[in-house]
């Protein structure tokens, strides 16, 4: 297999990792105003992703860096061409990122509501725009002979692009709702389950529609299979959610995202950024790539360090596997024994703390 192919796949893997992981972060943020009835609810929701959101976001940084290193012409044309869309994404990521740290430091209602808005918009905007961006990458954009983008922001907001955006927005929301049903307890968990079912009603047609549109316009035999599988797995995920099988449902939406990204990248191959102006102006894995030497060096680095990253990120999820319960601070007499794994115990209202062992 050529190194350019290896790196095309690796970049697809990095974006897959990003969407599967940050996807539920976005979903939780989007659901914050809807599922969070009071401050305790909202804090609970935020704390489900609290330990992991930053590590999840690094998949984006690495995907960007890998694109720069392996396909500099793709990185250059894509980032300069999609300038305003990326600016909006960056603003969203910035305000969301600081919100997690700043939000609960002040008790004033207006302060917290303000940051909650930042979390919502900082999640919804990128969730929408990543889909718009990837749809346009597959569809192709006006590029001239020097591979320079000659469109503007509106060029990206074409029907197919918008459909892609709605697909990712709703997929991430569903993914986030199922994640919440896995990570919360009591009434919030019940609401998360209902939200998953409700969002499925919107997600399934939009995602299926987007996949169908992709295959009709840019599909090939291999990706017809991944697209069909994505739709099937999505339906299975929804079915599992309906049955209350939250773990299976989450695996389902995660695998759906994997298959969606595989479909898009499979449709894209061997281009990396097709030109709608003239096929000859398209960026491909061959004309956009770095030298063989650079790709070789990067392959060694990736081969050694990606498993290490997966291992310790996996460990993080295991450390924080318990559900997050919401409850206010209790005086010393009523609190259960605090220990390594968090306060244990059978407990009723007396021992509420974060990351308690899961309830029934």
């Amino acid at each position: 297999m050529q190194l350019t192919t290896v790196w095309f796949i690796l970049i697809a893997v990095l974006w897959t990792g990003y969407f599967v992981l940050e996807g539920f972060d976005f979903g939780v943020g989007i659901l914050l105003p809807f599922l969070g009835r009071d401050d305790t609810d909202r804090r609970t929701m935020i704390n489900t992703i609290g330990p992991v959101w930053d590590g999840n976001e690094v998949w984006l940084i690495t995907a960007g860096g890998a694109t720069f290193a392996a396909f500099p012409l793709w990185y250059a044309s894509l980032f300069s061409g999609f300038y305003l869309a990326l600016l909006l994404i960056l603003v969203g990521l910035i305000i969301r990122g600081v919100s997690f740290e700043f939000r609960s430091k002040v008790t004033a209602n207006r302060w917290r509501r303000g940051w909650d808005q930042a979390i919502f918009w900082g999640s919804a905007l990128p969730a929408l725009l990543w889909g718009v961006a990837f749809a346009n990458i597959v569809r192709g954009v006006p590029l001239n002979a020097a591979h320079v983008y000659t469109g503007n922001l509106l060029t990206l907001l074409n029907p197919y692009g918008l459909l892609g955006g709605l697909a990712t927005l709703t997929l991430f929301t569903l993914h986030g709702a199922i994640f919440l049903s896995l990570k919360t307890t009591g009434d919030l968990r019940a609401r998360a389950r209902r939200a998953a079912v409700r969002s499925a009603a919107v997600t399934v047609p939009l995602a299926a529609g987007f996949l169908a549109a992709s295959q009709l316009t840019h599909g090939r035999a291999a990706t017809d299979i991944t697209a069909a599988l994505a739709a099937v797995v999505l339906l299975a995920a929804v079915a599992a959610a309906l049955r209350g099988r939250e773990g299976w449902a989450f695996a389902g939406t995660a695998i759906t995202l994997v298959l969606v990204v595989a479909t898009l990248f499979g449709d894209l191959w061997p281009n990396v950024l097709p030109s709608t102006t003239a096929a000859a102006y398209s960026l491909t894995v061959h004309n956009a790539s770095s030298s063989h030497y650079t790709l070789t060096v990067m392959t060694w680095v990736a081969a050694i360090f990606t498993p290490v990253v997966l291992a310790y990120q996996g460990w993080t999820y295991w450390v924080f596997r318990h559900r997050v319960t919401g409850a206010p601070l209790l005086p010393p007499a009523a609190a259960g024994p605090a220990g390594k794994a968090g306060p244990a115990g059978p407990a009723g209202p007396a021992g509420p703390v974060t990351h308690a062992p899961s309830g029934p």
Binding site: L73, Y75, P328, K340
Partner: protein, 463 residues
């Protein structure tokens, strides 16, 4: 304004801003890890209180550092796509490595540290903050390797067919003498920043005689770190400058406003030049001193701006190869000045707090708090110096800044992003600063509740 000017302003604003928060992250992460280590070893609850107190400040700062860092990676592609196309084969590699080796570790393990109190065993929990701190500093290494390649390109060739730079040796890039000199300088500057920060926060409480034993310990720690790291920053800076004399003679000539090659060369204490920077109007100088500093020989030859310009015009073709002299000259001096000020104040502070003394003078505390700006100014001046001094080059001797800007992006678009970032960043700085001051005022957690132990109220939420 042209696209080029706007793109340069934006890059300058966003980079300076990012580097307001980064040095504190670099230094304070290590200090917090050290404090937690001291607690684990000595079991003195004061160390835990300090860990949590400064840890919370570290996290407020870290949040802004992270979000402004994402912009940096994107900005190369957004505003400097011609540069990215040309150098990506070489420059992209350290950036990708930074993500895979440093950022993942830093972000993942910091999450484990924030949420892991009482959940992870004390030793494992301690390891998480150490890994996060090392990850941050490792990240600095990769960024500096990338920047150092711009200052002194090595391990590459220009592909005659594609006319793009092509990597020929990754080891040459990662062991570039420029990064070997730059890394310790930035590392110690981070510790100076953290040291002064700890001094300022401690001074606030000592002035009000609150928690005096705790903050006396803390202020001594901050003072020692500032002094030792300050000296190390100066030494590494001197080594770096001498390296730059051979690698970028124009930058160093501009730093000293030395217009003509001289042997011996006098050192400028203070020079006033024409507004365009092209000539000296008035200067106070110390004879022989520049030769001594630059060449370690009182009669050594130091190259001058005009001579280097003539040589470059011959080598690279007609053009203006001088950076903007006034900015280069003053940023260099202000960097050294503010850095030295921090170190001197630390020395004075150590004397005034010797043998467990808690100074009575209000001016001591005012100075200690006001001094917090010194390393920030030094850090900013340092980056302005090294980047502005490299102009007109993005990659020294290979690619000029005017050839680097994105061809397809309109001026209005860049103006939009520049305004958005500037306003957003300004807002974040005010908020972060306010949160930090508020936290400093509220003081460290009481000895009891700092300890995750049985029978104590357990906080319901971490975030």
């Amino acid at each position: 304004m042209s696209v080029l000017d706007l793109a340069r302003w934006q890059f300058g604003i966003t980079t300076v801003y990012h580097f307001i928060f980064v040095p504190l992250t670099l230094g304070l992460s290590l200090m917090v890890a050290g404090l937690q280590t001291a607690w684990l070893i000595k079991k003195n609850p004061d160390y835990l209180r300090l860990t949590k107190f400064f840890g919370a400040l570290f996290l407020i700062n870290f949040a802004v550092g992270v979000v402004t860092g994402i912009v940096q990676e994107f900005q190369f592609g957004m505003n400097w796509s011609a540069y990215s196309r040309f150098v990506g084969d070489v420059f992209g590699a350290p950036l990708a490595m930074e993500g895979l080796l440093a950022f993942f570790a830093e972000s993942t393990f910091l999450g484990l540290w924030i949420f892991g109190w009482g959940r992870l065993s004390p030793r494992v929990h301690l390891a998480t903050i150490w890994i996060a701190a090392i990850g941050s500093n490792l990240s600095a290494y990769f960024i500096l390797a990338a920047n150092s390649w711009m200052q002194h390109p090595v391990g590459y060739r220009i592909n005659p067919v594609t006319h793009r730079a092509q990597l020929t040796s990754i080891m040459a890039v990662l062991t570039n003498s420029t990064v070997v000199a730059a890394l310790p300088h930035v590392f110690f500057a981070g510790l100076v920043t953290a040291g002064v920060f700890i001094v300022a926060a401690s001074a606030w409480h000592l002035a009000r005689r609150r928690d005096t034993e705790l903050f006396r310990r803390a202020i001594r720690l901050g003072l020692v770190v500032t002094l030792v790291a300050g000296i190390a920053t100066a030494v590494t800076g001197d080594l770096q400058a001498r390296l730059m004399d051979s690698q970028q003679p124009m930058k160093m000539a501009a730093a000293e406003a030395l217009y003509n090659t001289s042997s011996p060369a006098s050192f400028s204490l203070f020079t006033v030049g024409s507004l365009n920077g092209n000539e000296q109007l008035w200067s106070v100088r110390v004879p022989y001193l520049l030769s001594l500093i630059a060449t370690l020989d009182a009669r050594g030859t130091v190259q001058g701006i005009n001579n280097v310009q003539r040589a470059y015009a011959k080598k690279y073709g007609p053009g203006d190869y001088k950076p903007y002299i006034p900015v280069t000259y003053w940023s260099f001096r202000l960097m050294i000045g503010f850095g030295t000020l921090a170190a001197l104040l630390a020395l004075a502070g150590l004397w005034l707090t010797r043998r467990r003394r808690i100074p009575r003078s209000r001016w001591f505390y005012r100075a200690a708090i006001a001094a917090v700006v010194a390393p920030y100014l030094a850090n900013t001046m340092g980056w302005i110096f090294t980047e502005m001094g490299r102009q007109p080059w993005t990659v020294f001797g290979v690619l000029q800044t005017s050839q680097s800007v994105s061809p397809g992006v309109a001026a209005g678009t860049v103006l939009t992003s520049m305004v958005v970032f500037t306003l957003l960043y300004a807002g974040l700085a005010v908020i972060a600063g306010w949160l930090m001051i508020r936290h400093i005022r509220s003081g460290p957690p009481p000895a009891q509740s700092a300890t995750p132990g049985a029978g104590e109220p357990v906080p319901a939420f971490t975030y």
